[in-house]
Symmetry: C2
Subunit: 365 residues, 2 copies
């Protein structure tokens, strides 16, 4: 079997596949890339158990067959090729890879050990891929990292007939993105945060088709975007009711430039105690926000003029500076912070894009 | 005492100082930066035992004094400052650092624990700083890394009345740079490779002044470049006689584009066995260079047309691909490779810049 195609197309696909397929695994067949040729299409498949990926590339093809290769070595070879075209000649036990003056013979693995992946024949839902990626990119940071935090390590996605929402929380902060675009599907699901990251990388401006299986109790989200198909395994467990946590009232609220606040917090936090919780203190009074931090090396402060409103004239709060910074990063232009008390969650919102909300729980002082 | 100066100047100095002064040390006074004010000049000093650094900055100054600060925290604070100017107000136990709307109080350390550094009052030698940096940057890669390789972890510098040379070798390869510029000093020395790296970063296009102390048996090279003064501790021990190792005869020699050869070697080496010695094989015959590699995943090859000369019509050799790549990287334009035999060192030279020579010992096949 002989396949010829532009290096760029193959390299792009292998870039995504290489991120998903593990380089080393206790199950060696998991680190394999499957290649299959049928009807002038080269299909590449792989998996990390959480995501199955399949890419279909049109190519100049002679013959047909199914082969298995170590994904990471194949990706490395293709990346380094000198020519614009790459030619793959599959022999019984090896594949001959040629490009320009370069040729390599890469040993084939046993294709019978490849896992079988089932991708949907039809997709009932659809949405602009970049809309979904945008929602994911706004909330991803707030998901928990530690193994024991179970369901908090996922991003909740709500598909309703009139909206699409993504929510992540680790119990100390929460990020929320609401899109009024609907996918046409209905269902709630929790996607592992790492899978959300890979999905966001693959989604483009084009339409992304979506399907949930099984239909009654989805355990898998399937996505088709461009020449990629992905099956994303969903997490099991109850995601907390985020709507109860988002405060509706505030006693003090301030508006200022988001970038200015982000830079001030980062600067003041240089003096914060990194061994505990990176604590920075905020004090708001008379249209002035004073940020201070104190640690083993000394203390720092900075004052910013803000537009201030609310029933109270002043408020003092403390935060983990990293949580404030993460919440501010997705915001362009002005940010509004609503404080409902020194111990209740504070709301951080973009005044330009009402789709995004973040919530940070103050530190106990 | 009050000091005001542009943030940029202070930040540049702290960038260099922070690379040299250890962040943590079993001797805590070693992680301190000394600040001293005299005659409208702010001096900053620090050391890692191998290099002492002193920078002199002119500033707007009131008062005088000597203070000690944790270098890494101070550098981090200054890096993050929002304004163009920074103002330092030294009090008894802390320094108040202000810039724009930001202020921090950083605790001072005990300045009596600062080491005393002696820098020469006069320098007898001089050379254009970038000439010396260029020599260092050409040979640095060939120095050994492992602790037990003693003197091989340094770069030999030869100062003669009609030339300046830098040489590094780890026993398997050697790099040599000859400049016909003289410093006006005479002496041989071996500088630790890490110090060579820091020196190369600080040297500029301007004149660098040099001094060796003590004069009869130098144990220290002192350099003054711009507003920096450096004392660099020299290594003790006998550096091997490199001139005996550089082959003068060759049986086959080839000329080709250096970048093309570098890329081909890197590409073919993807298949080389990384657990042993990254072996690539070169076979030269009839004006063609064939590069091959073989490892656990398969084998690769590439052929390049070359201009071939010599008494023999063909030759086959093997190398550690990393050594070939390192030797080729400094070469712009055409490279000439002289092969004197399958087990004797091969010479790699730039046809454009005869100052640079590299030698690589072939692997035993």
């Amino acid at each position: 079997m002989r396949v010829q195609l532009p290096k760029k197309y193959l390299n792009d696909v292998l870039g995504h596949a290489e991120r998903i397929i593990p380089n080393k695994s206790s199950n060696p067949s998991l680190s394999l890339l499957g290649l299959e040729v049928q009807d002038d299409v080269l299909s590449l498949t792989g998996s990390n158990m959480d995501i199955d990926i399949k890419a279909r590339l049109s190519a100049d093809i002679e013959g047909s067959g199914k082969f298995a290769l170590p994904a990471s070595v194949f990706a490395q070879v293709v990346k380094s090729l000198p020519g614009e075209l790459v030619e793959l000649n599959f022999e019984e036990r090896e594949v001959d890879i040629r490009s320009g003056s370069y040729a390599t013979k890469l040993q084939l693995s046993d294709s019978s050990s490849l896992s079988q992946f089932e991708f949907p024949d039809s997709y009932k839902g659809s949405i602009k891929g970049s809309d979904l990626a945008n929602a994911f990119n706004h909330v991803r940071y707030a998901a928990a990292v530690a193994e024991y935090q179970a369901i908090f390590r996922g991003v909740k996605v709500e598909l309703k007939d009139n909206h699409t929402r993504a929510i992540a929380t680790d119990g100390f902060r929460l990020a929320y993105y609401h899109s009024s675009e609907s996918t046409g599907l209905e269902g709630d699901m929790v996607i592992p945060a790492r899978s959300v990251e890979e999905l966001a990388r693959i989604l483009t401006d084009d339409e992304a088709k979506l399907e949930l299986t099984p239909h009654d109790r989805p355990s898998q989200l399937s996505v088709q975007s461009g020449h990629y198909q992905l099956n994303v395994k969903l997490m099991e467990g109850d995601f907390p009711d985020y709507s109860r946590v988002i405060p509706e009232q505030s006693v003090v609220s301030i508006t200022l430039d988001s970038k200015q606040l982000l830079e001030s917090v980062s600067r003041v936090a240089v003096m914060a105690d990194k061994t505990t919780n990176n604590r920075v203190d905020l004090f708001i009074q008379n249209g002035s926000l004073q940020i201070t931090a104190e640690g083993g090396y000394g203390r720092s402060q900075e004052a910013i003029e803000v537009s201030q409103e609310g029933s109270e004239t002043e408020i003092a709060l403390a935060y983990n500076s990293k949580y404030l910074e993460d919440a501010l990063k997705p915001i362009q232009g002005e940010v509004r912070l609503n404080f409902s008390g020194t111990t209740s969650p504070s709301l951080i919102a973009s005044t330009r894009d009402p789709s995004y909300l973040a919530m940070v729980v103050p530190l106990r002082t």
